[in-house]
Symmetry: C2
Subunit: 210 residues, 2 copies
């Protein structure tokens, strides 16, 4: 087992739990929100800001165009007037790169598939689920009224999609960006983990043959 | 094994070969273009018309609105002025339904996942692939100039997407429509078949538990 696993996931699909279980089965480190704390330590930017802006993109492209504040200036260095969101993204970008250098691991969300797209041993999973299952899962875990859960899910996924589509040149949730997309409601959390273990095995054997 | 397998696929991804091999491994019938001949026999519409219009949608919605030629009249019967494309779609729709009634099988393309969406034991796969692999595969199989192959692939997939998006209420190639999406270039044709066999096993066990 030599692969770095990234997991993109719909809100309520169980992607985090699947990733955690997969990392335990493979006995490799797991990063989800843990990544935010690391990015804060490495960048010196206050940890709370990472949590508050996690996987959402509130500064519009228009705003950054008007302000002339692109992520990088022409010499490739961080622009002093860069909006906060871009600074947070770049800090996470660096952290993900550093984590991947240390060997096999599971990273959930935060455009990790895009950040590591030139890395050789990366496997990109996408976990989705039927709305009914997502609603059930979120209601069990969040203190939210039943008639508001659907909107909550849609809004959270919209944020994730905006964040991903803005920083990558790809479209969140489109099958062609990922190695394998799994609907977790059809095979369950443990079924998804079993399938991913099989996939990693098949994939590494295929790479050896090439 | 009790599942009906549908395979949607990018052009050049090897979806047909994967489906054929899967059907042989599972010892169940396989339908790809075979479906067109059956639809022709059942509907009485000339077979050549099915081949010429296969998975493409040239009559625009605007056209059918202007002509007042919707797929079905208010009593649910085929409208005598229905455009040819709609007649062909409905004939294939009926054929797919009949095939599914006969038990486990593999059906490639032709919106079979949409046609069978209310069927209990259906598993919907989507096969995609990297452009480089698709080009290589198409060049080996079609008499086409090297500098035209990319456009040929894009155009064929655009036709498939238009056909699917028009007749279903879903978007072709979006992970959330399928149970499992596999990038065949990452694990090879045989790897994809192996994974699908594992998936079917995991899925049927999960259904038994529910």
């Amino acid at each position: 087992m030599r692969s770095i696993i990234t997991i993109s996931r719909e809100f309520g699909s169980g992607g985090r739990e699947i990733g955690k279980k997969l990392s335990e089965r493979l006995n490799i480190p797991f990063y989800d929100k843990e990544l935010l704390e690391m990015a804060s330590k490495q960048s010196g930017i206050c940890e709370e800001l990472f949590y508050r802006n996690d996987e959402s993109h509130s500064n519009s492209l228009l705003y950054s165009l008007v302000m002339g504040t692109y992520p990088l200036s022409s010499d490739g260095k961080i622009h002093p007037n860069m909006p906060l969101n871009h600074k947070l993204f770049l800090a996470q970008f660096d952290t993900i790169k550093k984590i991947a250098e240390q060997g096999p691991c599971v990273i959930v969300g935060r455009c990790a598939d895009y950040v590591l797209k030139d890395h050789k041993n990366v496997i990109n999973f996408f976990i989705n689920s039927d709305m009914q299952n997502k609603k059930k899962r979120i209601l069990e875990r969040y203190d939210i009224e039943k008639d508001k859960v659907r909107d909550f899910i849609k809004k959270t996924d919209k944020n994730r999609a905006n964040y991903y589509n803005y920083y990558s040149d790809m479209k969140w949730g489109e099958a062609k960006n990922y190695d394998l997309c799994i609907n977790s409601s059809r095979i369950g959390i443990d079924g998804a983990v079993d399938l991913m273990v099989t996939y990693i095995d098949v994939r590494e054997k295929h790479l050896d043959k090439e």
